[in-house]
């Protein structure tokens, strides 16, 4: 990134000080002060995220249960995973969730951003309105959609009125998963729209004008000018949305119920973590092992995307 090259050379070194080590020459504070700045954040993160997470990592190799301290069992939990049908169901659904939501969340918000970027009257209202689903809590969103997609809810009433007939959105294994994905996309539209708006603000207008002069149509301009210009942002959106999709919990939990739909067929990995690991009879060790798998996959997803980004961004 351009700014970081700049930052490395500025500000100039204080007079009279040898530039023995790069780290020292830009200091004009007590040596401890950067750590003082970062201290509150690091402390909170270390105590409430990393420390619990490290204990999760350790638990993954034990048979710990909610009320019973565990013993080291080596890789037994991971071996059990391989033979646990529910684990594979969860993995399948989490992967499907990524495949189902990420393309929509990469493309649709971009189109939406193009729609609201022009300063036509009332556009600030539309921008804010499109952001409302992001503001509402997932519990509220879940309640609203369960009511909308209910067998006797608004959507089915409308379908009935136009003669399609009622559809069991919330009872079929696949329709449930698709409905949950639709809610994820619905709630994410505004959020990613904003990210694209920010990126589009940085696209030089000369590019567009040149294309327009060439007589390129809207679709071609979109593909040849807009998409390349916001490519790194699209990759970022893909990264954020795929990590979120792989960790999906609330949408499916709220719509398919704690069991994860008929015969548990809609269970996602994080739902499985919650179901196996919580409650008084929770198998903390086994659930921790599943958590580790989730964590590993998200790290890999993130690394893949960052690598793609690096290739673009040099």
């Amino acid at each position: 990134m351009a700014s970081s090259t700049v930052s490395r050379t500025h500000p100039p070194r204080p007079a009279g000080r040898p530039a023995a080590r790069p780290a020292r020459r830009v200091r004009r504070h007590l040596p401890t002060s950067p750590w003082l700045f970062a201290a509150p954040g690091l402390l909170v993160t270390a105590v409430f995220v990393l420390y619990p997470f490290v204990s999760t990592v350790i638990d993954a190799f034990t048979d710990r249960r909610t009320l019973v301290p565990g013993h080291f069992v080596g890789l037994a939990n991971f071996r059990e995973l391989l033979h646990d049908d529910m684990f594979w169901t969860g993995l399948r659904n989490s992967v499907l969730y990524v495949a189902g939501t990420v393309p929509a969340l990469v493309v649709l918000p971009l189109l939406l951003a193009l729609l609201v970027r022009k300063n036509i009257p009332g556009i600030t209202f539309f921008r804010s309105a499109f952001y409302t689903p992001v503001v509402a809590s997932i519990v509220v969103v879940g309640l609203i959609w369960v009511w909308l997609l209910d067998e006797r809810g608004l959507v089915n009433s409308l379908l009935q009125t136009i003669g399609v007939g009622r559809i069991g959105f919330l009872s079929d294994q696949w329709l449930l998963l698709v409905s949950a994905m639709a809610v994820t996309v619905w709630k994410g539209l505004g959020y990613y729209m904003i990210i694209y708006l920010a990126a589009l603000a940085g696209v030089p207008r000369e590019l567009h004008e040149a294309a327009a002069v060439d007589g390129a149509g809207a679709v071609r301009r979109f593909l040849t000018v807009t998409v390349p210009a916001v490519r790194s942002t699209m990759i970022l959106v893909a990264a954020l949305s795929s990590v979120a999709a792989f960790k999906v919990f609330s949408e499916v939990y709220l719509m398919a119920g704690p069991d994860g739909g008929p015969a548990g067929e809609d269970t996602t990995l994080v739902m499985l973590v919650q179901r196996t690991g919580t409650g008084l009879t929770g198998r903390v060790g086994y659930a921790s092992a599943i958590s580790l798998v989730v964590f590993a996959v998200t790290v890999i997803l993130m690394l893949l995307v960052l690598r793609a980004d690096r290739r673009e961004d040099v």
Partner: protein, 430 residues
């Protein structure tokens, strides 16, 4: 993002330093607090989703107790229905359980095993005779000596049915089914006559259904599940037939008690289990349905209906054992349970209370009729839910039942799998 060696070193260091006290919590040995001593001190009392409707009752109750025992102070906390098990397990793991806790037997079992519940046979044996023997026994845990909670309220529900739908299907609206065989026959006829539009049942069979059908649920020592016996397989096979004929609601696999309740209200399901509480609800929400509602006993092949027992557990780690025991007893004594029963459609677990005219005398109203019938059936009722049947086991059973109904597995294979899964979970509970 490449990791520098320094970063790795820092992380490794963090991994070494941080987890020193990661594990280890839970109970330190079985509690058998001493109930003798002065009743005094501050205690906390936790209920389960009762504040919304019965705030006044509990506030009066606590005031009475504090008046009776000067020097005590009771703090009442009520938790929402959702997340109750999470809340209790977080508190149990961290040692912050309230002094007196409202628990169902399945919550009680792990707590007692972890030594977090006071053994009342040691600490409060003198009160045993005040309760129905079945209710007191219901607070014992297989594999553990002792009784771990005061029995609180009992609940059982009648079966509601839609007379109009029965009549339309050519069934006698005054002779609802009482056994499973009659139920299955009626349900198939209902589905056939309504061309699959009206289902008779909205829920998949639960462990209690297996019990009432006559399957044996567990072996005598409580060390293994047995509901995959001939009776169990027969029940599930019958349900599969119902499901295929749409006599069991097609959405039963994802049903919740609320969603089935709604279906019953709207006439999509003809029979639904419920409690006397629901009657008021019907009156308000679906006045047209109310006229057509029939009330009958729970379907059972064994002659015994199912009942649920709520208990009040005394935390083994309480600092004020005498006060906590006195309070738990106070809440569950005959007088206060009776007062509570008159506010809610529940039934006292104290000996003799069910003979009160309130539970025996009809006055012509439906509410009373349901109450009297339920009180009568409670005298022989059984708590079919095995105490050791955890949430994870319920999920395992539900999932296997769903697979059998969908035809992905034979009923026998599904139940074998469910029993295997439950046995494994049971062993892991230790």
């Amino acid at each position: 993002m490449p990791m520098s060696r320094r970063t790795l070193a820092a992380l490794a260091l963090a991994a070494l330093v941080l987890p020193l006290s990661a594990c280890g919590s839970g109970g330190d040995g079985g509690g058998s607090g001493d109930a003798s001593g002065k009743v005094e001190g501050d205690i906390t009392f936790q209920t389960w989703n009762l504040r919304a409707n019965y705030k006044d009752y509990f506030e009066d109750l606590i005031a009475d107790f504090e008046k009776k025992y000067p020097g005590t102070h009771v703090k009442w906390v009520d938790q929402p229905a959702e997340g109750y098990a999470d809340k209790i397990s977080a508190d149990a793991a961290a040692g912050t359980l309230p002094d007196v806790v409202n628990v169902s037997p399945d919550l009680l079992a792990p707590l007692a095993k972890a030594g977090l519940a006071t053994d009342l046979d040691k600490a409060a044996a003198q009160y045993e005779k005040e309760y129905l023997p079945g209710a007191w026994d219901g607070q014992r845990i297989p594999g553990l000596p002792g009784t771990y909670a005061f029995p609180w309220y009992l609940n059982t529900g009648p079966m509601f049915y839609n007379k109009e739908l029965f009549e339309k299907a050519g069934l006698d609206p005054d002779k609802p089914p009482t056994t499973y065989d009659a139920l299955f026959a009626d349900a198939l006829q209902m589905a056939k006559k309504s061309k699959g539009k009206v289902a008779t049942l909205g829920n998949v069979p639960t462990i209690e259904d297996f019990g009432r059908y006559g399957a044996s649920l567990m072996n005598k020592d409580g060390t293994a599940f047995t509901f995959n016996d001939a009776k169990g397989v027969e029940l599930l096979t019958k349900y599969k037939q119902l499901y295929d004929a749409k006599a069991l609601d097609p959405q039963a696999l994802t049903a919740t008690p609320e969603s089935t309740g709604k279906k019953f209200l709207t006439g999509a399901v003809a029979m639904n289990p419920g409690s006397a509480l629901d009657l008021e609800n019907f009156k308000k929400q679906a006045p047209s349905l109310y006229k057509n509602i029939g009330i009958t006993d729970q379907i059972t092949n064994t002659g015994h209906v199912n009942m649920y027992v709520m208990g009040l557990m005394v935390n083994a780690g309480t600092k004020h054992t005498p006060a906590a025991i006195a309070f738990a007893h106070f809440v569950t004594d005959a007088e206060n349970q009776m007062a509570f029963a008159k506010k809610v459609a529940i039934f006292p677990s104290t000996a003799g209370s069910l003979d009160d005219p309130y539970f025996t005398k009809e006055d012509g109203t439906d509410v009373t009729r349901v109450r009297v019938a339920a009180a009568k059936s409670l005298k022989t009722a059984v708590n079919y839910t095995p105490v050791l049947f955890s949430d994870q086991m319920k999920t395992a059973l539900r999932n296997e039942v769903a697979k059998a109904l969908q035809g992905k597995e034979s009923p026998k294979a599904a139940l074998d799998n469910a029993v295997k899964a439950c046995d494994r979970l049971l062993k892991q509970q230790g």
